[in-house]
């Protein structure tokens, strides 16, 4: 039987590879749009970014669950592990939103750049999460210059998390009903 830690390494590599490719394509998409709107690479970057993001997003739940299984004492016993969990869900949320809005948003330049920015931030979250994993297992990573991510966590009380979830869901429902009325 494969151990959780081994499975976590495999799924993490899938997530990091896919998200890194997606992030690069989002950035290049914006750069190419700035430089030359007629470039044939623009559509290519757009498709690659979203397909890579989808692939990374599919592997993400496996990475999170195997990561929780690989930790002997749980994510709540280390600020570094807690940050990993929070960053990965934040990145996952952004990625999910980016994929969801891809064919539902306006196609003007500002919207496209904002969309690419969200995609890139999502990649940043995932790469930082992976880097924290390096710090946890090897005590060494590329983000050693960010000590506060290893030692501090901004934790919300349970009631505030529930409030945030309800607030966002309510805002989404209001937005949706408003769009239907005006559509």
């Amino acid at each position: 039987m494969i151990e959780s830690a081994t499975f976590h390494v495999m799924t993490t590599e899938l997530v990091v590879g896919s998200f890194a490719l997606a992030g690069l394509c989002f950035v290049l998409h914006s750069v190419l749009t700035f430089k030359n709107k007629e470039s044939q690479f623009i559509a290519m970057m757009d498709s690659t970014a979203h397909i890579a993001l989808l692939f990374g997003l599919l592997a993400l739940p496996f990475a999170i669950l195997s990561g929780l299984g690989a930790s002997p004492s749980g994510a709540h016993t280390s600020p570094l592990l807690a940050n990993k969990m929070l960053l990965s869900t934040a990145g996952g949320g952004l990625a999910l939103g980016v994929l969801f809005t891809r064919w539902r948003m306006d196609n003007d330049n500002a919207s496209r750049h904002l969309h690419n920015a969200f995609g890139s931030i999502s990649t940043g979250c995932m790469l930082l999460t992976a880097s924290l994993g390096g710090t946890y297992t090897r005590a060494d990573s590329l983000t050693e210059f960010l000590p506060f991510v290893k030692e501090n966590t901004l934790l919300l009380p349970a009631w505030m998390s529930i409030f945030v979830i309800l607030l966002i869901l309510a805002a989404l429902i209001v937005r949706q009903t408003s769009a239907i009325k005006h559509g």
Binding site: T89, G92, G93, L94, G97, V98, R104, T137, R138, I165
Partner: protein
């Protein structure tokens, strides 16, 4: 031209060999097979052979079911080597897999660093010789074999920067049956290995065929201090004083009975700063909140798709 230069730069960057530095921060104390010594560095083919001399010795007779001190000595840390961190393995074989002593009838009671691991790390080396003791308990009578293995970096010499690995010869340990009436610790007794700073420790030492017990404690290699020991509910009780800072103390028991006086090895007790812990449910809820918040954020700031073009097209077609 610019494009060609960019492709050339990317191709060249892929050809540049990466600097091999293993795990410069270590992997942390744990239960590790020898395979980690070859592969924790990433690729066993990158290893260089360590020149350190490794030896192992037992302290006195090793009785079955009783704690025994196994001391490892590593020499060769001279000025020609620049070693700042070292990982030491205590192994029962060199199969590279399944060679933790616990798989060969040993229990690790103390690794001398506040845990019960067969692999420990020293963050710095202060002298030319490093001595470290494990407290083991053999659960079976007979001949057993132990090995010492090390892995480390070395910033000097021809292989500077490479991960180094070394393993000792086999050291034979004879585990003997314990005489019937010899005073001894209960074979099921597990000594505490760590505690939080500011906490005192109540010892409750269960013994067999023992008429009197004296418990002593000391700072590592310091003067021993006797504790008041009382017998209560079938165990010998004493209170070890609390530590004011993260540190380690050692304690041992001297047992009297029908046989010759028996002295246990020095058990190490490490005091650590209180561990960080968050509310697990709150953390889980916050993770869900992050997912919903950032998903919602992307949806809420997007500008909905305009249907103007379709409308214009419809109007034009019908005029």
């Amino acid at each position: 031209m610019m494009k060609q230069k960019l492709v050339l730069l990317l191709a060249l960057s892929l050809l540049v060999p990466l600097h091999v530095s293993g795990n410069p921060g270590g992997v942390g104390n744990g239960l590790e097979n020898m395979q980690c010594g070859g592969a924790c560095h990433g690729d066993a083919n990158q290893n260089a052979t360590s020149n350190l001399q490794l030896s192992l010795q037992q302290s006195g007779t090793v009785w079955v079911g009783q704690p025994a001190e196994i001391t490892v000595q590593i020499t060769g840390f001279d000025t020609s080597h620049s070693i700042d961190q070292i990982g030491i393995f205590l192994l029962s074989s060199t199969n590279a897999n399944g060679d933790i002593p616990t798989t060969d009838g040993w229990s690790i009671l103390s690794d001398g660093m506040g845990g019960s691991n067969n692999y420990i790390e020293y963050a710095s080396i202060d002298s030319t010789t490093l001595t470290h003791a494990w407290i083991l308990r053999a659960d079976q009578i007979g001949e057993k074999t132990l090995y010492v293995s090390v892995h480390h970096g070395d910033n000097s010499g021809s292989d500077a920067g490479s991960p180094f690995f070394g393993v000792s010869q086999a050291f034979s340990i004879t585990v003997e049956p314990i005489p019937e009436n010899l005073q001894r610790i209960n074979p099921d007794y597990e000594p505490p290995t760590s505690r939080e700073v500011g906490q005192s420790t109540n010892l409750c030492l269960e013994t067999i065929a023992t008429s009197d017990v004296v418990i002593e404690w000391r700072e590592p290699s310091g003067q021993a201090v006797q504790l008041e020991t009382t017998q209560n509910n079938g165990c010998w009780q004493a209170e070890l004083p609390s530590a004011l800072t993260a540190s380690a103390i050692e304690w041992r028991a001297i047992l009297d009975g029908e046989g010759p006086q028996q002295t246990t090895p020095w058990f190490s007790l490490t005091s650590v700063e209180p561990t960080w812990e968050a509310d697990e449910t709150a953390l889980l809820l916050q993770s869900i909140a992050h997912l919903v918040l950032f998903f919602g954020l992307v949806l809420l700031v997007r500008k909905p798709k305009q249907n103007e073009d379709e409308f214009k097209q419809y109007v034009e077609e019908n005029i």
